[in-house]
């Protein structure tokens, strides 16, 4: 689930099917395994960098894979694409994962994309967002939401911290709009998004000053990863080796892209010149994503039972699911390199 987008000339909800051609590595005549990867958003943006790098620098080819990247028609379809078999591996939000599993969909998380919760509240430069004055700041105000599960899961933490009930604020929902537009037009008072998308968006708007920002984790939201790589259980039992190969290639690419953020963003620009985002936006966005990719021990991908249990409990608390399953039902680390 992506929370913000710069829409330059792109109609909301258009289906973009991108096929990234494999740039050949060696002169090997070995047959490559086909893998279809479904992104979590209808169009390509900078969080796709690890996959782009894995393509461009031949990591997929070296791992014996030919990866095709597809985009869902809207933000809630990736899980269904996995369940129906139109994609093999996908990128999902962890909240969508938990809900899908609880609804009976046989999906399984195989690696964390990122490690930290960089979701937060944002406001125009004039408005101050502080944990200590949160109640006064939010009471009676219009808060923007994309209507997605992550925002729905996080907002209650914020409101509880602020000591407000949902009836004391006005949550404005627009799944297809762009939150910065409404913020700038003063149609909403406070916006919600993840930092790596909101800040480049603000930079791109060329407005003076700095966006006011308050991380959700500072006001009661749990620090759990937002995005994850997932497969179906059926695919996992039949193609475990492929998943392993995929994850090892992507991990290599992620490490390289983290060490060379500007170059990595540049490779994304070249792979998707018509993405609708400027080079500057992609560069800033990716550089803001890099810090949240590793945990305290500097590891990529590694999931914990605690993260899933915490998240599931939070979702149960706001009645999006009815019971918390054992964490092993939601994830496994066994396919990671």
């Amino acid at each position: 689930m992506k929370l913000s987008r710069v829409r330059i000339g792109i109609l909301a909800g258009s289906l973009v099917l991108g096929t990234v051609a494999l740039s050949g590595g060696g002169a090997s005549a070995k047959a490559l395994t086909n893998v279809t990867f479904a992104y979590d958003f209808p169009g390509p943006d900078f969080e796709l960098v690890p996959l782009v790098v894995a393509q461009d620098r031949g990591y997929f080819a070296q791992a014996g894979l030919k990866v095709k990247i597809v985009f869902p028609p809207n933000t809630s379809t990736t899980t269904k694409m996995l369940a129906l078999g139109s994609a093999d591996i996908g990128m999902l939000t962890t909240s969508d994962m938990v809900i899908a599993v609880n609804a009976g969909a046989p999906v399984l998380s195989v690696a964390n994309y990122s490690m930290h919760n960089n979701w937060g509240l944002f406001a125009l430069p004039g408005t101050s967002l502080n944990a200590s004055t949160l109640k006064a700041t939010l009471k009676g105000k219009r808060i923007f939401s994309y209507g997605d599960t992550w925002t729905e899961s996080m907002l209650p933490f914020v409101l509880r911290y602020a000591g407000l009930s949902t009836s004391q604020v006005k949550v404005v929902t627009d799944p297809t709009g762009y939150d910065l537009t409404f913020l700038l037009a003063h149609k909403v008072d406070v916006s919600t998004n993840t930092t790596n998308y909101e800040l480049p968006g603000w930079a791109g708007s060329n407005k003076p000053g700095h966006l006011s920002e308050l991380l959700g984790t500072k006001v009661g939201a749990p620090d759990v990863p937002i995005w994850t790589y997932a497969v179906t259980r059926g695919y996992a039992s039949a193609h475990g080796a492929t998943i392993r190969a995929f994850l090892s290639a992507v991990k290599k690419a992620t490490i390289w892209a983290a060490k060379n953020p500007a170059a990595a963003a540049g490779e994304f620009d070249m792979a998707y010149p018509k993405s609708g985002y400027t080079d500057a936006y992609n560069k800033l966005g990716w550089s803001l994503t890099v810090p949240i990719l590793t945990n305290a021990s500097g590891q990529y991908f590694t999931q914990t039972s605690a993260q899933w249990t915490t998240l599931a409990r939070a979702l149960k608390g706001i009645k999006l699911i009815t019971n918390v399953k054992p964490p092993g039902v939601y994830y496994t680390n066994s396919y990671q390199p």
Partner: protein, 262 residues
């Protein structure tokens, strides 16, 4: 009358029941997973179980539909009449009206939200936009095809033009006018839902469905769709009821006794 009513109501109900049975059959026979498509009863139950949450949302959608329809109908009636009476305005305005309908509703909603905010405004505008065109076109059509001999007769009686308009031309156009209203009524609810989807303050029926969709609650997605359909049909039937009340001569040979008219 009784047997006819039985047929008019019974047959559609029967086809509805058959449709539901077919749906149930498909889901069961093909072992469709509940998160892909629910059974009909699950969809219906999602509505009845959540009725206390849904009822205010339904009221909200109805309110948007009714306000929007009223605005659209008034606008359509006025425009149609003006175009019928003022030839050069018709040539000027008619192409613009047609153009207005070529704009996709979704593209319309985005700027509306920016201008009018997230309240009921954009929804009312969208519904009015959808409704006014069929009304205007049909009013224009009806008023252009009034029996000229009748209009001449009114002139011979010495009738001023506005009286001829009110007592002859408008009632003579009753059938096309109601046709326009019925067409507008059919699409009105859909417009309200689009408006809600593209920006709601607080909860709305469309956002409830969107949340259900994001939350894998497929039963609720189907259930709210059924709910929206019911609202749409009800509104259409209401307009038909209005037509029945307003045009008694099409069904009766003797007028009812209304003492207040004498």
């Amino acid at each position: 009358m009784n047997r006819k009513t039985l047929l008019n109501v019974g047959v559609p109900l029967l086809s509805l029941v058959l449709l539901l049975l077919l749906w149930q059959g498909i889901v069961v026979v093909f072992h469709v997973a509940p998160y892909i498509a629910p059974r009909p009863m699950a969809a219906i139950r999602s509505v009845t179980d959540n009725w206390s949450t849904l009822w205010p949302l339904v009221l909200g959608t109805i309110r948007e539909t009714v306000y929007g329809f009223a605005c659209g109908a008034v606008l359509g009636l006025t425009l149609g009449a003006v175009m019928a009476k003022v030839g050069f305005l018709q040539r000027l305005v008619y192409p613009v009206l047609v153009l207005s309908q070529a704009v996709p509703t979704i593209a319309l909603a985005a700027p509306l939200v920016l201008i009018l905010g997230f309240g009921v405004g954009p929804k009312v505008v969208i519904v009015a936009w959808i409704v006014f065109f069929p009304v205007a076109v049909n009013v224009l059509d009806g008023l252009s095809h009034v029996d000229q001999d009748l209009v001449n007769l009114a002139r011979v009686y010495g009738a001023p033009r506005w009286r001829t308009f009110v007592h002859i031309e408008v009632p003579a156009s009753a059938t096309p006018i109601f046709t326009g209203l019925k067409i507008g009524a059919t699409y009105a609810v859909g417009g309200a839902i689009i408006g809600e989807f593209l920006g709601s303050e607080g909860a709305s029926l469309a956002i409830f469905q969107e949340h259900a969709n994001a939350n894998f609650n497929t039963a609720a997605v189907y259930g709210t769709t059924m709910l929206m359909t019911v609202i749409g049909i009800s509104w259409f039937l209401l307009v038909i009821g209005l037509e029945t009340l307003a045009t008694p001569w099409q069904r009766r040979s003797v007028a009812r006794r209304y003492r207040w008219r004498r």
